[in-house]
């Protein structure tokens, strides 16, 4: 298995307040192509910070990060934008859909800017939203909105999908549907998926579970037999 992302001694310090906050204190991590990785850790441990840096949205204070061997920390703004555009898909806890675009248009918007997109209508249908194409976000439930957001990320056909607490705002059943969709994308297209969660039970779904604690990788657990979303319960 090839390595898609590797970090070395990744550090991030925020100087916004009175005292500097060391959000990441030297993270060494290696993620393989096609892996489904679950990131677990207590609140404030630095999970989101890590994900933002992996996705090219933020720059590390120190350390190195390689995407397919290319160092992200040396990229300029333009190159980082292109990296986000073609290689990365993001999914957030709050769906962040464009309120004045319909479900289909939200997905199409993403497809229009990438090199090799999947067909938006088909992706949306796979999320079970064929009937909802023409609905605006305000007309959709939270779970439906999150699935549109996933469709929007998937349609870009990114090599790596980064999800920050994608089920955080959803109920149990809907949460499972969403996880199912992520797993399918990972399995069917062989794409790498990283999921941040608070929920330890979800860890059982991952090929690999990374435990973050206090800005460092605490331990990594390899799951020889990851379970499917329907088998997870919490």
């Amino acid at each position: 298995m090839e390595t898609i992302i590797r970090t070395q001694n990744l550090r991030k310090t925020f100087y916004t307040g009175e005292i500097p906050v060391h959000a990441l204190k030297g993270v060494d991590l290696e993620i393989g192509e096609g892996e489904f990785v679950v990131i677990l850790g207590p609140s404030g441990s630095g999970k989101s910070t890590l994900l933002n840096i992996l996705g090219g949205m933020d720059a590390p204070t120190e350390g190195e990060i390689f995407y397919r061997g290319k160092p992200l920390q040396n990229m300029n703004k333009k190159e980082l934008t292109m990296f986000r555009r073609n290689a990365v898909g993001f999914i957030f806890q709050f769906y962040n859909l464009m309120p004045n675009l319909t479900a289909l248009e939200n997905v199409t918007l993403a497809a229009e800017i990438t090199n090799d997109p999947l067909e938006p209508r088909k992706v949306l249908a796979e999320m079970g939203l064929a009937e909802r194409e023409d609905h605006f976000p305000s007309q959709l439930s939270g779970g439906e909105q999150q699935r549109v957001a996933i469709a929007r990320a998937i349609t870009k056909n990114p090599d790596i999908l980064l999800c920050d607490e994608p089920t955080g705002a959803l109920d149990y059943e809907t949460g499972k549907q969403v996880l199912d969709a992520l797993r399918n994308f990972n399995r069917d297209l062989g794409k790498t998926v990283l999921v941040i969660t608070h929920n330890a039970a979800i860890g059982n779904m991952g090929d690999k579970v990374v435990y973050i604690k206090d800005g460092r990788v605490d331990r990594i657990k390899i799951n020889p037999n990851p379970v499917s979303a329907s088998e997870v319960s919490w």
Binding site: S48, R84, F94, N100, I113
Partner: protein, 784 residues
């Protein structure tokens, strides 16, 4: 504590506040400066007219005994009457210098009406040949008191000594006739001569040719017109008119009317724009800070205290804008007054500082801003604390009307669709942006177009209609053929044509107007009638061609019959058909075949003026030769007049650019502020787009598309609005003497569109800088 929040907020978006305050300042500055100038102008004019006894009625006669004024005073309703000798004579100058006409106005000691005001020197005693001239004339011709002026009177040179300077309420605007639009001391001036000197020198001893009279309280001019005419007709009355038709008086009235109109309208545009922007800003602020408002309410702040806080912004802006505008406006009024004084001779006309207007201006500013502020933040009351702390209902996506136009909607990509929906999502705001941009566009168009119109007028009048070089107005009617032949014999004269001018009363039913009918020869080349389409019109053998302004005044259509009553000859009324109406922008013209007109007054072969075309190189010599001619009254050099007119326009050019600049600032303020607002509302959306991998340029493009779309609609809406504003300007300044054509050259639209594009781009450029500062992570971390 809240005060600190206020200051911090203002500092946070300083640009937006500065833009807003500038618009307010511009509006108030215009208002205060114009109102102040207007006030002083009206006050000093009224005082002047009153103190120096400007008459209520005027009449011109050929000549009559000085004693006839007693007959006039006997008429019931007429209080005082004075008779004067008024004659235009030429200054004897070497060839090559501009022809100068001096109007000699006789006066007597203790004259009850139309007194002059001595400025410098002393009043001539009446023993020597001494005169008073106007200060403008003295200065404009580099004369000194004590200098001698050589005048040509009855073909002979007569020298007068300047004993001093004086101004008269009759010549506040010192022009010789209605075809002259601006004073030019080099070409025309007024001089006051003691009657005892004027009589013998002008061969009018014991006689007068100009009458002025005042009316008793409560009497109107029309009440005495018939009786006065009866007295004067036997002395060859050529005109009788009330003071409101007196040239200088009517020019000043017109100017005041125009200024009054501008003072009332143009500042309002700026104030309304500023108020709209403030309204949007506060509304938006309240919306965005609803959480904070909820917390404050939960803490026990009263509605009033919170409203007070938000009204603080309006107060801050209102006071700053009001004081700033009033102060700058007061300063500007000094400049206005100086500008007016160049053209209008009114003693004691000065700008002054007025606390009242400082107050009025500030109050006006506060009124607008507090009202806008109140409208913007009154929803604070409606929020209850629990509800306020909950996030606002998500913006509802909706299909828009545009989407029905399938083929159009189909070609848009998703980014464009998003932009279009955004425009429609906030209709009120879109409307205000369109209105604001359209106003500022229209302001640019109309301020440029008033120049287009004037230049068009110059081209039309001096290029198409008046084809001659010199017009010689004669002191009396002479034989047409002889006059033309004599003129042709002057070296350098290439062509000569007669022109007969006859003062008449023209009436249609109960409507009537005193005008001059111009008689022209058939197939004349030097004065032509031109249609609105620029086509040359043949003069009908009989019947009248009249100007559109006259047709409007008398409500005449072509084909209708009007009554002509000449002031000359036996004054027999005559019915004449109006054949055609032509555009004319200067004066109330009426034209007729010269033979037909001559027959009307039993002067079949006379002419009153000669039009000449002259070789350019021989111009100076021709003028010199004419000066010495007998019967020559006024030598009017058309090309100089045209030049002077163009120079005058040139001097106003700066005003045009200042107005365009103001319009630009206003446009920028609107677009920039609204952009800032929509940016802050949509930070989250825009950050998401950047996370998706859009470049800053692409994100900015979405906003640019929205602004561009609104801008385009605004410019289209601004075209009729520009015409409307120009129409208002043209209409506001139209008079019997002068009415501007309604004319907007394509280049003015082009320049104004470029102006609008420029402020749209400038605002967009500032916005792009803000997009670059958006932090994706910060924004996305927050809950919706």
């Amino acid at each position: 504590m809240l005060k600190r929040k206020l200051l911090r907020d203002i500092r946070g978006s300083l640009g937006a506040y500065i833009a807003l305050i500038s618009v307010l300042v511009i509006g108030l500055m215009l208002y205060v400066s114009m109102a102040l100038t207007l006030d002083s102008l009206v006050l000093s004019k009224d005082n002047y007219y009153r103190d120096y006894k400007l008459a209520d009625g005027f009449a011109r006669i050929t000549r009559g005994p000085a004693g006839l004024v007693a007959d006039l005073e006997d008429i019931r309703g007429i209080d005082k009457a004075v008779g004067r000798i008024v004659l235009d004579v030429l200054v004897n100058k070497p060839a090559g210098e501009e022809t100068t006409t001096l109007r000699l106005v006789s006066f007597e000691e203790r004259q009850p009406l139309n007194r002059f005001m001595l400025e410098q020197g002393k009043v001539p005693t009446g023993e020597a040949r001494e005169i008073l001239v106007t200060p403008a004339f003295l200065k404009g011709n580099n004369y000194q008191i004590g200098d001698q002026i050589p005048l040509i009177i009855k073909g002979r040179e007569v020298r007068f000594t300047i004993s001093g300077t004086a101004n008269s309420p009759e010549y506040v605007y010192e022009i010789p006739n209605g075809f002259t639009l601006a004073p030019n001391p080099k070409a025309f001036g007024v001089a006051f001569v003691p009657y005892s000197v004027a009589g013998p020198v002008l061969d009018m001893e014991g006689q007068v040719n100009d009458i002025a009279f005042s009316l008793n309280k409560g009497i109107e001019f029309l009440d005495v017109k018939t009786q006065a005419s009866r007295v004067l007709n036997s002395y060859g009355m050529t005109s009788i008119y009330p003071v409101k038709d007196q040239l200088s008086y009517s020019m000043l009235t017109q100017e005041i009317k125009g200024l009054e109109g501008s003072a009332k309208t143009s500042p309002m545009i700026f104030l309304l724009v500023a108020a709209s922007v403030l309204y949007i800003m506060l509304r938006r602020m309240v919306e965005q800070q609803r959480g904070q408002i909820g917390v404050m309410k939960a803490f026990g702040f009263t509605d009033w205290e919170i409203i007070n806080h938000y009204m603080g912004y309006a107060l801050f802006i209102g006071i700053l804008g009001g004081l700033g505008g009033s102060v700058v406006g007061t300063v500007l009024s000094y400049y206005w007054v100086e500008l007016y004084k160049v053209y209008y001779n009114i003693p004691d006309f000065t700008a002054r500082v007025s606390l009242t207007y400082l107050l009025v201006g500030t109050l006006l500013s506060l009124l607008f801003s507090l009202f806008a502020g109140w409208r913007g933040c009154r929803r604070v009351i409606a929020l209850n604390p629990a509800e306020a702390m909950r996030p606002p209902a998500p913006p509802a996506g909706k299909k828009t009307m545009v989407e029905r136009v399938r083929f159009l909607w189909g070609v848009l990509n998703t980014q464009a669709k998003m932009a279009v929906r955004n425009v429609f999502r906030n209709k009120q705001r879109a409307f205000l942006v369109i209105l604001g941009v359209a106003c500022s566009f229209a302001m640019m168009v109309s301020s440029r177009a008033s120049f287009d119109s004037t230049y068009y007028l110059i081209r039309y009048q001096f290029g198409e209609v008046e084809r001659y070089d010199i017009k010689v107005t004669l002191n009396q009617y002479i034989d047409r053929v002889k006059g033309v032949n004599d003129s042709r014999n002057i070296d350098g004269v290439a062509g000569a044509e007669p022109m007969l001018e006859v003062p008449v009363t023209l009436s249609n039913r109960w409507l009537q107007k005193d005008i001059v009918i111009t008689g022209l020869p058939q197939n004349g080349r030097l004065y032509r009638l031109v249609s609105a389409e620029g086509k040359h019109i043949d003069l009908p053998d009989n019947g009248l061609v009249i100007s559109n302004q006259l047709a409007k005044t008398l409500e005449i259509q072509p084909g209708e019959v009007v009554t002509i009553k000449p002031f000359l000859g036996d004054r027999r009324e005559e019915k004449v058909v109006v054949r055609q109406v032509v555009p004319q922008y200067v004066g109330l013209g009426a034209y007729m075949d010269i033979d037909a007109l001559g027959a009307l007054i039993h002067e079949p072969s006379s002419t009153s003026s000669i039009l000449l075309s002259v070789d350019r190189s021989e111009m100076d010599q021709v003028r010199k030769d004419l000066q010495e001619g007998r019967n020559v009254g006024v030598i009017y050099d058309k090309n100089r007049m045209k030049q002077q007119f163009e120079d005058l326009m040139e001097s106003y050019n700066a005003t045009q650019y200042i107005l365009i600049f103001f319009a630009f600032i206003t446009g920028f303020a609107i677009v920039y502020n609204v952009n800032i607002i929509s940016l802050s509302e949509r930070e989250r959306e825009l950050s998401t787009l950047m996370v998706l991998g859009m470049t800053e340029r692409e994100v900015a493009r979405i906003l640019a598309f929205e602004q561009g779309f609104l801008g385009l609609v605004a410019v289209i809406a601004g075209i009729p609005l520009g015409y409307g504003m120009l129409y208002a300007i043209v209409n506001g300044t139209a008079s019997d003497i002068y009415n501007m054509p309604l004319r907007i050259e394509p280049v003015s639209f082009l320049i104004s569109s470029l102006g609008a594009a420029a402020f749209l781009v400038a605002a967009q450029w500032r916005i792009k800088g803000r997009i670059a500062k958006l932090s994706m992570i910060e924004v996305l971390k927050e809950n919706e």
